[in-house]
């Protein structure tokens, strides 16, 4: 775990230059709550750490032209307590409020949660349902990628932290007739990895009786956070009725292929719980969309 240099750049250009000069030997560090553990266990090695938490481009939560832009170094605590996030992307505030512990939430960042690429990351699952995209700064310029394609498998992210920097997350803020919610199942209420988590983002028609759009995300039921596309499609255009919701939840459970895991429970149990968690998040998203 012994990195020999700890650098604190003050501009994005400087940070990218530091990474480039070290040709793969340096790595970006944000809050460090995952990376330091990985370095201690030698799961990751780096000769140099480049601390990006002082870069202005990676800070702040803003509403711009109907989109919310979140700096990659915004902490879970900042997300959970942001009025803008609570009002316009509640599922994300709820997800962030359940990461780790207060101490972890004070240091850990949303960008770090994404790059760490775990299939049940508590901010990534709601961000998937919000159809977020990310901004990545590279020596060649900035690129925008849909969040959905970023995680390739546990711990594997398309953003290469030895030469690139995830700078921000962006998604459309929820408005009238829209609502979102996040649900989580774990062995304890705090400091426990999720057995399952789920998020729902819904749009109702003006009458409030039909699903105009539904986006459902769930993890960990595979190597990456997943969308429940079959269930989404079944609900799109459907009347807001128990029967339609139940049928969609059955589709979600079929689509989800959780594995038995000594830490997370049996496949059968988790498959049943996919229905329960998605239904709970859908029902709360529905209440939010109806303004109640």
């Amino acid at each position: 775990m012994k990195w020999e240099e700890y650098l604190v750049p003050t501009s994005l250009e400087e940070a990218l230059a530091m990474l480039e000069e070290r040709q793969g030997q340096a790595r970006v560090i944000a809050g460090g709550t995952d990376l330091v553990i990985q370095l201690k266990k030698k799961e990751v090695t780096a000769r140099c750490l480049v601390d990006v938490t002082h870069l202005d481009e990676l800070k702040g939560i803003e509403l711009e032209d109907g989109f919310i832009r979140i700096g990659a170094c915004v902490t879970h605590q900042e997300l959970a307590s942001s009025i803008l996030i609570q009002e316009r992307a509640a599922a994300l505030a709820e997800g962030a409020s359940q990461v780790g512990s207060p101490q972890i939430r004070n240091m850990g960042t949303v960008g770090g949660n994404i790059v760490n690429a775990q299939p049940a990351a508590d901010t990534v699952v709601p961000l998937m349902a919000l159809e977020a995209e990310v901004e990545v700064a590279t020596a060649k310029g900035t690129r925008r990628d849909p969040l959905g394609g970023l995680c390739l498998g546990p711990g594997q992210c398309t953003v290469d932290s030895t030469i690139e920097i995830l700078t921000a997350i962006r998604f459309r803020a929820l408005g009238p007739n829209q609502g979102s919610a996040f649900e989580r199942l774990a062995k304890r209420k705090a400091l426990a990895l999720p057995i399952l988590n789920a998020a729902a983002v819904i749009t109702l028609n003006d009458g409030g009786d039909t699903f105009q759009d539904v986006r459902l995300a769930v993890g960990p039921i595979g190597p990456t956070p997943s969308r429940a596309f079959d269930a989404e499609q079944a609900l799109r255009g459907a009347a807001v009725e128990t029967q339609a919701i139940s049928a969609a939840m059955r589709l979600a459970a079929q689509e989800a292929q959780p594995r038995s895991n000594p830490l997370r429970g049996s496949q059968e149990y988790r498959q049943e719980m996919v229905k329960v968690l998605l239904r709970r998040s859908l029902e709360r998203a529905l209440q939010a969309a109806r303004g109640s």
């Binding site: 775990m1 012994k2 990195w3 020999e4 240099e5 700890y6 604190v8 560090i29 460090g32 709550t33 330091v36 553990i37 201690k40 750490l49 601390d51 938490t53 605590q77 780790g100 512990s101 207060p102 101490q103 972890i104 004070n106 240091m107 209420k189 705090a190 400091l191």
Partner: protein, 157 residues
């Protein structure tokens, strides 16, 4: 082994400016305990699971076993030693003693720092808010009830 260069760390520690030479790979808890001999802060799991190493960084609780020391550059750090002048007890410490909230004592410094951060931010918390504030601090002795009582008693007073 090749000798590692050091970097200069200046921080405000328990109200006083401190400058220390640290290895780039030093963690905050190592600098506090091994360099500055403030051994009130404990290390147990080393993975951010137990909260024994909790200190305040700019007023908020963090796991000092996961914080590279150089992250504290130019910032304020408070450890359990900073709660009260030598020989005196902070009201939270008194309440912990009076309510039997200390058994083996290993979690206590971290518990106190999480409680201190809570009361600084919210002087009259509910029991639920207290439980949330100490949810990152494990105690295997007390069952938490006495700790919650002690914090509640301090906030009411």
């Amino acid at each position: 082994m090749e000798k590692m260069t050091t970097q200069t760390l200046t921080m405000k520690l328990n109200g006083e400016e401190v400058t220390v030479q640290v290895k780039p790979s030093a963690l905050l808890v190592e600098v506090l305990r091994d360099e500055l001999e403030l051994t009130g802060t404990k290390v147990a799991c080393g993975e951010g699971e137990c909260g024994a190493c909790t200190v305040l960084l700019d007023g908020v609780p963090v796991n000092s076993c996961l914080v590279p020391a150089l992250k504290a550059q130019g910032r304020e750090v408070m450890t359990v030693e900073g709660l009260a002048p030598l020989g005196e007890l902070h009201p939270l410490q008194k309440a912990f003693v009076e309510h039997g909230a200390v058994q083996c004592g290993y979690c206590t410094p971290g518990m106190l720092m999480s409680a201190k951060a809570l009361l600084d931010d919210n002087p009259n918390p509910t029991e639920d808010e207290i439980r949330l504030a100490i949810s990152g601090n494990l105690c295997r002795c007390t069952g938490y009830a006495k700790i919650v009582e002690a914090i509640l008693a301090t906030s009411a007073g």
